[in-house]
């Protein structure tokens, strides 16, 4: 127990057990609980205390910037920079600018959504302590993992291990840093 560790990890065989374990861990006062699963599980984000995401807000802003920018680009080019009289149409013939405005809205919103999601998740991050655990390869197949992080205040490895044992996991492993 001398080498510093990232946390203590327990392996489960079913999604329900993981959700129950995560909930119990939070309720018994572990502030930093992480849960890993091979597919999204309803309610697991609540169980680990996920505060909610700002991805939708970022997407909205991205869409507004894209749409506004797209319209501005056309308006600036057609009205300020290079006005051409085509059959007496007004320079600011805005209905004709709508298709591109729409496309730019969608493009910027979509790209922002994806970038915001990855940035908020801290990805790309090819190296992470959890990958040091051999069993963790099954987290993308059929196993569910609960990790109590060691950098939580007042973390006590022995106590954490006792707690995890009570949840009857398949296995408990230390995650080396």
């Amino acid at each position: 127990m001398s080498a510093p560790i990232y946390g203590l990890m327990a392996e489960f065989a079913s999604a329900d057990k993981l959700v129950a374990a995560a909930r119990e861990a939070r309720e018994s006062g572990h502030p930093r609980v992480e849960a890993y699963s091979p597919f999204p599980i309803e309610g697991l984000d609540d169980a680990v205390g996920f505060a909610g995401s700002r991805v939708p807000l970022a997407t909205l802003i991205g869409g507004i910037v894209g749409g506004g920018g797209g319209f501005f680009l056309q308006w600036y080019a057609a009205v300020i920079d290079y006005p051409i009289n085509i059959g007496g149409r007004p320079p600011n013939s805005w209905p004709a600018f709508i298709p591109i405005t729409f496309e730019m809205t969608v493009l910027f919103a979509a790209l922002t959504a994806v970038v915001a999601m990855f940035v908020a998740n801290g990805l790309p991050k090819l190296r992470h302590p959890v990958f040091n655990v051999r069993e963790f390869d099954h987290s993308t197949r059929n196993r569910f993992f609960l990790c109590l992080r060691a950098d939580a205040p007042k973390f006590d490895a022995a106590q954490a291990r006792r707690f995890l044992e009570r949840l009857e996991p398949l296995k408990i492993v230390e995650v080396p840093l």
Binding site: D45, I86, A96, E103, A110, V114, L126, R127
Partner: protein, 449 residues
Amino acid sequence: MASTPLIRGRWGYASITDKIADIVLRRPTHWIWGVGLLVTLVMSVFFFGAMGYLFTRGVGIWGVNIPVAWGFAIGNFVWWIGIGHAGTFISAFLLLLRQKWRNSINRFAEAMTLFAAGIAGIWPILHVGRPWFAYWLVPYPNVMNYWPQWRSPLVWDFFAISTYLIVSLVFWYVGLVPDLATLRDRATSKTKAMVYGFFALGWRGEARHWARYEIAYLLLGGLAAPLVVSVHSIVSLDFAVGNTPGYHSTIFPPYFVAGALYSGFAMVLTLAIPMRHFFGLEDFITKRHLDNAAKIMLATGLIVAYGYCMEVFTAFYSNDEYEIGMTMNRFFGPYAFVYWGVITCNVVIPQLLWFRFARYNVWILFALSLVIQLGMWSERFMIVVTSLSRDFLPSSWGLFVPSIWDVTMLIGSIGFFFFLFLCFIRVLPAITIFEMRELKHEELEGRQP
């Protein structure tokens, strides 16, 4: 039909994962796949060879001339971009509508979208005659002091297609990330683990990550859904904004979108039926999936048939002699065989889909999917060519006859499409693995999907 499970047989998380991942990682190549790859590779070589010849000689090698300046290239463009639409429809609309059956077909349908839309994008560039100036469509500050013509549907088209390509690519990639992580963790060699690991971006399936992931994916679905409708609408405006009889029609946007989904679902079936057979995926892509796709084909086919009827009705109701002339020309003119071929392939034969036995017979479905694609390609040809060949002045009428290069490039593009698809099947998981696990989980919980 809700009683039929979406995953047939006794599969668990691990066996689902292994089954789909092993098509990529472990399964030895089948000789039929090899033959297919070779044949489509040869076709691709012809495609690119013809393209090279086109670049050196110009569009004169095609059958196009005045008055029919838009020949195969534009027809092919509309056809390919239409095929792409089904993939986005499946991944976006069916996601928003919580249609769980989409989960086993969305990955390869999105790949189909990417390849089809990419090939579609080539045609206008070839068609402009001087493709090295194609970048003039991009708005950027330049020494020539010019801007694209914002009021032109061709410029809208450029924005619509490029947005569509980028958003489809991103949507597809985001869906792939967790599966790439699976491949990384199951890779049989260090190189594979590194390559898949690189593209998996270090995905580790943490609960908070999944939560944000699902939100972003849903938002992408919501953003891609209007794209499905807008892209082909804008493509149709390339025609409808012009005043040529046969182009100038307000029904074009919805009629084009329905036609796009129609041919796209036909392509989904063309790809799914051999794929599920040769890779043993019948338990994941069940007959229920094929049945659902066939029903969508029937529905969109009826909308297309309505479009045909309305075109004829509008022409006579308008009492416009040019519109009437154009319609009579389609019925009885030099290209009448194309028109009646379209009606036969797109309206008459697909009525078989009303019958359950046809929707559950893979042979009939496969044959129908080919017939519909032939019909939809002919429809594009009919719209593009017959309208131009006889416009207002009889003195300027003329016929279009495709040259050998037109035909080579069309067939070559089809070969290239299948070549890309055959590569895709062996390099990336053709079915979304994590969503199949999720389906299994829901099934275990007793919530019937």
